[in-house]
């Protein structure tokens, strides 16, 4: 192969092409398919209308997460529409023999948290889900991306989707990250440099020592937000860290199958001299703790800086002004010191154990600010259990916080966890769109450290000031 060097993306994609259509898309085989209650019901209806069945039910996994409550999960779900979707997911899974981790199941949690933690996600796979943050699974060297409901129906009925191969981009970040700089800051920084549309049409590979030194949790945070710069997905070459994360997980291969898989996984890397359609290089030392000031994830800045002017930010002036107007912010203002009403830590971006460890490291020895409402929502029951076992829960309670039950929660506010109109939230989730966290809610995206600092001071604060 040395005379025809290929990228990691090429290797995984090419291994899954069932058919190439001339002047058309590739027919791509999908190894694992995740479904949840919101984007699957219409797909199942579609199957029925066409008289089709699920071709390989063992390759699809269902979990309920998007509109589940985060309090009193043992009680019936109040909202009749949400209850209806949860019931539909259970009924459809049962009917076609799909394993279903519904509300109350110990394996339940956010789809992109439970996939990896149960070993369903493995290097070299193609993984799809009717959810744009499916890109999370790219942290394992998978091609993983979000699809629409029509495509969910395709995968259920044929285990394939039809898409043209994306262009290839590599984003390298080298150097060492400073104190208080987390994977979330790295990805928010990248998106702020590329803009919310900067990687549209591309599949991204993240490379360089910053990602090599990152934990699997951190890699998931980075890949998770690939979609926020328009990329189809993002991936990181698997390495020893990846393999040891997977080993022993429930759905991981064992014995001979493990050895065989491992031998293959080790081949999954971009060859030297392989060519990308686009490359970016960034230096770790330029990255600060980040926070967003606008209404798309590209509108982020170092926390100590001031909000740029429309000219500095580039893009359309009218859209920029509309955005600042919505946020109630002005050009050239500082973000530090701005009042915070709500703090949300959770979501498939920052709802893993490492994120709660980071949050706890800042609040230790402090108290929650009186006027702040904090929602602390683990990504899964397994994460919740770890929070208890590691003593993080005690720490939270001591500081005046409470722990909620797992789910997507205020990330998209489909359940009761809605930020009221006009209020400011520092959120560890992934989208600051208008109304994303509730109609009229104003979202500032940041890392768990920045969220923790805001939760105890009640204003936007540089977490480094609270670190010893």
């Amino acid at each position: 192969m040395s005379n025809n060097p290929t990228t990691l993306f090429d290797k995984v994609w090419n291994a899954h092409v069932v058919r190439k259509i001339e002047d058309g898309p590739d027919v791509l085989f999908i190894d694992r398919h995740f479904i949840h209650e919101v984007t699957s019901p219409v797909a199942f209806l579609g199957l029925e209308k066409r008289g089709l069945s699920v071709i390989f039910p063992e390759r699809t996994f269902a979990t309920a997460d998007h509109n589940t409550p985060t309090l009193n999960q043992h009680l019936p779900v109040n909202d009749p529409l949400s209850a209806n979707q949860l019931k539909a997911l259970e009924a459809n899974s049962g009917k076609y023999g799909i394993s279903h981790w519904g509300l109350g199941n110990p394996k339940n949690g956010i789809v992109h948290v439970v996939g990896p933690e149960n070993g369903i996600t493995q290097p070299g796979m193609t993984i799809v889900c009717g959810d744009s943050h499916t890109s999370t699974h790219g942290a394992f060297g998978c091609i993983a991306f979000g699809i629409g409901t029509s495509e969910v129906e395709m995968v259920l009925s044929s285990q394939c989707i039809m898409q043209p191969k994306a262009k290839k981009m590599r984003i390298s970040v080298n150097g060492s990250l400073g104190k208080g700089i987390t994977p979330k800051d790295v990805i928010l920084y990248i998106i702020s440099r590329l803009t919310a549309a900067g990687a549209t049409g591309y599949f991204v590979e993240y490379a360089g020592d910053v990602f090599e030194n990152m934990s699997m949790e951190g890699r998931m945070t980075v890949c998770n937000m690939s979609i926020e710069m328009g990329a189809r997905g993002g991936m990181i070459a698997p390495d020893e860290k990846t393999f040891s994360y997977i080993k022993g997980k429930e759905k991981a291969p064992e014995g001979e199958a493990w050895d065989k898989a491992l031998a293959y996984w080790k081949t999954l890397k971009t060859d030297e001299n392989a060519v990308f359609d686009k490359e970016y290089h960034f230096d770790a030392k330029d990255i600060e703790p980040m926070i967003t000031y606008g209404t798309n994830p590209g509108m982020g800045m170092g926390i100590t800086r001031q909000i740029p002017t429309a000219d500095e930010a580039g893009g359309g002036k009218a859209s920029f002004e509309k955005s600042l107007n919505y946020m109630g912010f002005h050009e050239k203002e500082k973000m530090l010191g701005k009042k915070v009403d709500y703090v949300f830590i959770g979501s498939c971006t920052n709802g893993r154990i490492e994120d709660f460890r980071a949050f706890a490291s800042i609040i230790k020895g402090h108290k929650k600010a009186d006027h702040v409402t904090a929602w602390i929502v683990p990504g899964s029951h397994l994460v919740e259990q770890q929070i208890r076992e590691e003593g993080i829960l005690d720490l939270l309670l001591e500081a005046g916080f409470q722990l909620r039950q797992p789910g997507c929660s205020a990330c998209l506010a489909m359940n009761d966890d809605k930020i009221p109109a006009g209020k400011y939230a520092v959120s560890t989730s992934n989208r600051n769109f208008e109304g994303r966290q509730g109609p009229g809610a104003r979202t500032m995206l940041a890392s768990p450290l920045v969220a923790a600092a805001a939760a105890i001071t009640g204003v936007v604060t540089d977490p480094r000031e609270l670190m010893n």
């Binding site: 027919v27 984007t39 029509s150 009925s157 859209s319 109304g435």
Partner: protein
Amino acid sequence: MSYDNFNILRSTAVPMPIENVDTDQIIPARFLKATERKGFGDNLFRDWRYNNDNTPKKDFILNNPVYSGKILVGGKNFGSGSSREHAAWAIYDYGFRCVVSSFFADIFKNNAINVGILPVQVSEMFLDKIFTAIESDPGTELEVNLPEQTITILATKEKESFDINGYKKNNLLNGYDDIDYLQSMKADIRSFATVSLY
């Protein structure tokens, strides 16, 4: 076949010169709770279109009777964000068959074609021309010709061609979708699955 086929569309258009229109704006998450595809058009751009008390916001373009038509013209990076196909359903159910922009988010573009909406990507310059033409006369008609892959501002005859791959074009022209195609190659898929590593 799950939507009407698309050939030549001649219509006035609704201009929305805003960049980065994300799918959370097109259809907010709280309207994704249906288990059937029904009524999404009513909630298209819900929070831009209606006040909290459900009265229409006067300054929003869809509430301005001067503008109507089957074509929606949006600013750059239309359809970013969530993969919810509900966004495309809402646009289709409202009555649009074509969205024009200088740049589309990938997943939205895909979803649009899958539900029978033609996404037409034009140059920034041509997009500006369309906005200007509609601004000076809301009755301006556009012609979107799928067989020839062109879009024309009829009053001025200004024309630009757009890209679409041959396979998807054929689907839209005939009202077919990918599921029909995939069903026809199930034997190949089954044998592929037997050698799959996972």
